[in-house]
């Protein structure tokens, strides 16, 4: 411990710091400036960037002692006199902020970058300098597009004029209109200031810190745990082991197969074996090292093949289940007559595919704080689904549902990875009850990777048949997915892999067989595009191949086979609005497809693919009669409308979406609307942010609520004078009739409404219509509406190294109606960027069940330099049941981009990609085979 003096944001501090303490720790924990984020702890993500004497440094790898007498500038210092810095304004205006977790670091990097930029070498060079300058800062939400736009504009003004002119900032006050007007998130300012509190930013008084001891074996019996030495360590308050938390949980009612801490045996390397509550994180870590566990390793199952073999009851990973092996779930559905389809086809193709698992890579690591009081448990946690966590906590803690409050603070990205109830959440709740103190936990990036729940490693064989004139006759898929050690969403994932192949093309003969196995690896679950991303890849690759075989333009082939609007699929999905054609036409036009296809030189290629996705699962995860979503509105004397909703804004902009919808219905500005969301005490139940359901379902509930409030207003007015409700307009903060007999300001109306009554509360709800067939499995993939889309990708393949450089992504997505076009574009760009990662660089690699690449250096999320120009096109088809015609935009777009890239590789070098991520070595090997083949054929 030494004392250092440093100036942070102009204020002098004299602080006692540990000699080896990092600057990020001092800034966050000792000074309390939590705008500086920690995303990876090892200098790979840039979230912790601050300025030290004006120079950008990564505070997570900068020793605090080095900063003695230094001046540190953090994000909190940028806004002056209540006004944002111009760069911050640009971030807000351009929609460069989604989850906001990378934002402070990104802004600090951009700030230090700007003075070094030059336009002397032209605009392309200027853009490159910016992309390169930001390339040490990872963003998982935006695909960097809007961030780069913000920095380019700011830096251009800076470079051109040496100083920035006054910019008219687009804020919620200055923007007119509601639905369809592109606008920044309502909380964007808070995020860009570094003022938004994420789970790890919440500093509970008197809290203890929790750390875990994790298994070093894939599959082993726990023979003994000796934690006496650890317990004797000064500062250790409690050590929990598995037997204290015997109740099993899981997100699906049919897969309640996990305990918070391993009991009797461990099922993967990284599973929690013991949990320590101590005064500090450092003490908790030291205590974990003192815990002695005696394991007896047993046979580990690490691959799909291992897990298919029949094994003894004692060898099974889980003893429940009806199979003699480690298969978790089998499903098969068949429609039409597949042998007939094969016989009708002129050309058939059958291909096998393999996919590595991938991780969500959200920038904010999991964190939670739990505490108990007279009303029970409160947990503040980074979760996408407060409702299911609420249920799981009540179950495992064995307390009534009424004793559990789950609060979601600002959340740094989810993508499906924060949508299960997690062991760490249950453990801190338990430790808080045992110690009577708040307990805080934050996972390291390594632990985030071990927690996983990412996309399943999969393999599949798909067969399709087509007529000579390009009509699809049959599709048959045989799919196996590697679930890891626990169930998670796996049963749904299994089904989605199959059922979500029945669109966007018309198929009369369609079937699939799917199974999910348990293996001794971190569990897999839901990730953006849930369940169907890999099988979509297979089908779109096969279609591309069939088009090649019958010498038909792959776009034309797709056009010939699209389902229509207002139709049923073979598996009885009700298709309402359908923008497949418009989407494909748009990307063909923008990419100049017709001019370029077949005319590019070797190494250059373009490829196309399409996709579709559910707009919310029509069925709840846990069967009950609750509406899918309920939204409450409260209007009080001051004219403010408070929206309360259980829905989780995870960076996708759902709070803003709710505000816009209410604003549109009531004709009042967003400045009069406040959103309080995701607090299971204060807000009505919403099932959560998964299955791309929020805009459709919660949006509809909000619209319903706003319309109910409107009715209340009209009734109140009707009591005063004779009115025809049809003739009343709610626009621009006024309520008026065409004849102007009624012409009232919002506040005048509020006075009338609240007279002798006070605050008015109304409720709105959304209940999905009854859908689907009555066969087993009919419920999988049912949705009140579906999104559709298409992507054309362009690649440049180095024929000597096999390196694939994606140079352009043109995408179009039918989201029904863009409630907030800026947010929709952001979702699309982010989806395509994430798909790019799965296509070219991301994979989870294991060594005997131990994850190799559990950090942001070795798990390769594309940086700003690796991300091509992304051209987003919103297609609007106005869905009949979506709120103002809207449907999903958060997940579906990822489906077409990956196969489009692979098909572009085929177009470039004639190599069909059958494994993801695309492997340069495979490309070289197959090119050699091709060359040999063509030489032989020519010879």
């Amino acid at each position: 411990m030494q004392q250092i003096s440093l100036k942070i944001n102009g204020r002098q501090y004299h602080l006692l710091v540990d000699d080896h303490e990092m600057l990020s720790h001092v800034i966050r924990e000792k000074v309390g400036l939590t705008g500086t984020k920690v995303g990876c702890e090892q200098g790979s993500c840039g979230a912790c960037t601050v300025l030290m004497n004006g120079k950008a440094v990564l505070s997570c790898i900068t020793p605090a002692m080095r900063c003695d007498n230094a001046e540190i500038t953090t994000i909190e210092a940028l806004a002056k006199d209540g006004k944002l810095h111009k760069l911050q304004e640009k971030f807000v205006e351009k929609g460069a902020i989604q989850c906001g977790f990378c934002t402070p670091g990104m802004v600090m990097t951009a700030l230090s970058l700007t003075p070094t930029l030059t336009k002397e070498k032209g605009e392309d060079s200027f853009l490159f300098q910016i992309k390169e300058g930001l390339s040490g800062n990872l963003c998982r939400c935006t695909g960097y597009k809007k961030i780069i736009e913000a920095v380019v504009e700011y830096a251009s003004e800076y470079t051109d004029k040496e100083q920035i002119n006054e910019i008219e900032v687009i804020t919620k006050q200055t923007l007119k209109g509601a639905v369809g007007v592109p606008r920044p998130y309502i909380e964007a300012e808070k995020k860009v200031r570094g003022a938004a509190e994420y789970a790890d930013d919440i500093m509970a008084k008197n809290a203890l810190h929790c750390k875990f001891l994790r298994s070093i074996h894939s599959h082993a019996l726990i023979e003994d745990i000796d934690f006496q030495d650890a317990l004797n360590l000064q500062g250790v308050h409690y050590i929990a082991t598995g037997k204290e938390l015997p109740v099993k949980f899981g997100v699906l009612p049919i897969s309640q197969d996990e305990t918070a801490i391993a009991i009797e045996k461990v099922r993967y390397i990284g599973e929690i074996v013991a949990a320590v509550a101590a005064d500090t994180e450092e003490i908790a870590v030291a205590a974990c090292k003192l815990i002695k566990v005696k394991y007896k390793p047993i046979k580990a199952f690490l691959s799909i093949d291992d897990s298919l073999n029949d094994v003894g009851e004692n060898e099974k990973i889980h003893t429940y289940g009806k199979f003699n092996n480690n298969i978790h779930k089998k499903a098969e559905l068949r429609f039409g007559d597949q042998p007939q389809g094969i016989s009708e086809a002129d050309v058939t193709g059958k291909m096998s595919f393999e996919f590595d698992g991938i991780n969500h890579g959200f920038t904010e690591p999991h964190a939670a704080t739990a505490s108990w009081d007279e009303n029970g448990l409160t947990i503040i946690t980074a979760t996408q689904v407060p409702h299911y966590l609420h249920r799981a906590l009540a179950k495992v803690m064995e307390v009534p549902l009424s004793s559990v409050r789950v609060v979601k603070p600002y959340l740094g990205g989810g993508f499906g990875g924060k949508s299960d109830p997690f062991p760490h959440e249950i453990i801190v709740a338990h430790l808080a009850r045992k110690t009577g103190r708040p307990i805080k936990v934050r996972l390291s990036r390594e632990e985030v990777f071990l927690t996983n729940h990412g996309r399943h490693p999969s393999r599949m064989t798909v067969e399709m048949g087509i007529s000579k004139d390009g009509i699809l006759k049959v599709l048959d898929a045989d799919i196996a997915i590697d679930g890891g050690a626990y169930g998670s969403f796996g049963v749904v994932t299994s089904y989605y892999n199959g059922v979500l192949l029945q669109a966007p093309y018309k198929l009369n003969n369609f079937g699939f067989r799917t199974y999910r196995v348990y293996t001794n690896k971190p569990q897999c679950g839901a990730m953006r595009g849930h369940g169907a991303v890999n099988s979509r890849f297979a089908v779109e690759s096969l279609i591309d191949d069939l088009a090649f075989q019958i010498k038909m333009d792959p776009c034309e082939l797709r056009m010939n086979n699209f389902l229509d609007s207002n139709t049923l699929t073979v598996g009885q999905y009700r298709i309402t609005s359908n923008g497949s054609r418009e989407s494909l036409e748009k990307v063909m036009e923008q990419s100049e497809w017709k001019k370029r296809i077949g005319k590019l030189k070797k190494g250059k290629g373009i490829g196309v693919a399409c996709g579709f996705f559910i707009s919310g699962s029509a069925l709840p995860i846990i069967w009950n009669e609750l509406p899918q979503s309920v939204v409450h509105l409260k209007l009080d004397f001051d004219g403010r409308v408070l929206i309360t909703s259980g829905s989780s804004d995870i960076g996708q902009g759902s709070d803003t979406m709710l505000a816009i919808i209410v604003s549109e219905v009531l004709g009042i500005g967003l400045d009069k609307i406040f959103v309080l969301a995701a607090d299971t005490l204060l807000t009505p139940v919403d099932f959560g942010s998964y299955s791309s359901r929020v805009t459709f379902m919660v949006g509809n509930a909000a619209k319903d609520a706003a319309e109910n409030l409107k009715k209340e207003i009209i009734e109140a007015l009707a009591k005063q004078q004779d009115i025809n409700s049809e003739e009343l307009n709610f626009t621009d903060n006024r309520i008026f009739s065409y004849d102007k007999k009624i012409d009232l300001s919002w506040l005048e109306v509020v006075d009338i409404l609240t007279a002798n009554r006070g605050a008015v509360s109304v409720s709105g709800k959304y209940i999905s219509p009854k859908l689907g067939g009555d066969f087993k499995g009919a419920g999988a993939g049912l949705s009140p509406s579906y999104s559709f889309g298409a992507v054309v990708a362009e690649v440049d393949v180095d024929t000597e190294t096999g390196y694939v450089k994606v140079t352009n992504i043109w995408g179009a997505h039918d989201c029904g109606k863009a409630i907030n076009p800026l947010a929709v574009e952001g979702q699309l760009e982010g989806s395509w960027h994430m798909g790019l990662g799965q296509a070219v660089s991301e994979q989870m690699k294991y060594y005997k069940g131990l994850l190799f690449n559990n950090n942001f250096l070795d798990y390769k999320i594309p940086t700003s330099l690796d991300t091509p120009d992304i051209h987003a096109n919103i297609i609007e088809t106005i869905d009949p049941e979506g709120p103002f015609g809207a449907k999903e935009a958060g997940e579906g777009a990822i489906h077409p981009v990956i196969p489009a890239i692979a098909n572009a590789v085929f177009n470039a070098v004639g190599v069909r990609i059958t494994k993801l991520p695309i492997n340069v070595e495979d490309i070289l090997a197959k090119m050699k085979e091709n060359r040999l083949l063509s030489e032989k054929m020519n010879g």
């Binding site: 000699d19 080896h20 840039g46 950008a56 390339s135 690449n853």
Partner: protein, 311 residues
């Protein structure tokens, strides 16, 4: 309890050496510290005493004599481009420096630190917990090399991008320790032993890097990595052709030390390539496979030769 850790900022090279000599336990010099701090975070570096030499101004100077460009070892990678001589004569060094890590890291990381960057391996650059779960490898005091499946040698990769370029440029380094000052060819400090990859005395500090100015040369640098930033090398190649017809090839990422092949204009280029390949010691401890990295040596060198108009 938790061990006392110490951090001291050295005010001069002499001060740093004195601190190092006096330190009873383990110590580590810290220049930029961007690798050391990550290694500490992962438990691979357990030095109790950190001697921060980043404030010693004399170690940051970039100057030249009649014969040499002299780069202070603590010069930041990002600052190299500000020097006219480097920009004019050694743009290849800038290429290599810009290929290191990410732009923000390069503002802190130093050239000397990059030369001394610890060797890397997928089994080594992991947390203490991970390495325990894997069973410790040779480089973390285990009995055998895990990456090679039981070899008694450590194959951790030499990964300094600037070193391969500097070696191709015949750079020397000025080393100072309690014995005095010595000037040695850069390549001489690398042992080829993955566990102990450098043979400098324990207290030695690299004071500067000296690049010969008189020999007019052209050079080509290439680096193999998955992403266009951030990643450590899977293969780095530097080829320098001097006016006198001498050719020097240096490879990184394919051995525990840099691989060096000397030749001349007129040599059989394929022979130079196969000589380079045969000197490597590549195993599967990288994001790319052994065979691919080997294959890419040929591709990179051929492309370099083309740029140098040798082929």
């Amino acid at each position: 309890m938790i061990l006392a850790k110490t951090y001291i900022k050295a005010t001069s090279v002499g001060h740093a050496l004195a601190l190092a000599n006096e330190s009873g336990g383990s110590f580590r010099y810290l220049a930029g510290g961007t690798d050391v701090m990550v290694n500490k975070f992962q438990g691979n570096d357990e030095a109790d005493l950190l001697i921060d030499i980043s404030d010693i101004e004399s170690l940051k100077d970039i100057s030249s004599t009649d014969s040499h460009l002299i780069i202070g070892a603590s010069a930041c990678l990002d600052d190299l481009k500000k020097n006219q001589i480097i920009a004019l004569h050694f743009s290849i060094l800038l290429e290599a420096a810009n290929a290191v890590a990410s732009p923000t890291i390069r503002k802190t990381a130093t050239i000397g630190g990059n030369l001394l960057c610890e060797n890397r391996c997928t089994f080594y650059n992991q947390s203490a917990w991970w390495r325990e779960a894997a069973g410790h490898c040779l480089k973390c005091n285990g009995p055998t090399c895990l990456a090679s499946g039981g070899n008694k040698n450590c194959f951790s990769k030499f990964v300094s991008d600037t070193a391969v370029v500097l070696i191709s440029l015949n750079a020397t380094i000025e080393v100072i320790d309690s014995e005095g000052i010595s000037i040695i060819p850069l390549e001489n400090i690398y042992t080829g032993d993955g566990v102990n990859p450098r043979q400098l005395s324990k207290t030695a500090i690299i004071r500067s890097i000296q690049i010969p100015l008189l020999e007019d040369s052209i050079s080509v640098f290439k680096k193999l990595r998955k992403r266009e930033t951030l990643d450590f090398t899977s293969l780095s190649t530097a080829v320098t052709l001097r006016k006198n017809g001498k050719l020097r090839i240096a490879l990184g990422g394919v051995h525990a030390k840099p691989v060096i092949v000397d030749g001349s204009i007129g040599d059989d280029l394929n022979a130079l390539i196969s000589q380079s390949v045969s000197k490597t010691r590549i195993i599967d401890n990288d994001t790319y496979s052994k065979s691919y990295r080997k294959e890419m040596i040929t591709v990179f060198l051929k492309r370099s030769f083309e740029v140098l108009k040798l082929s």
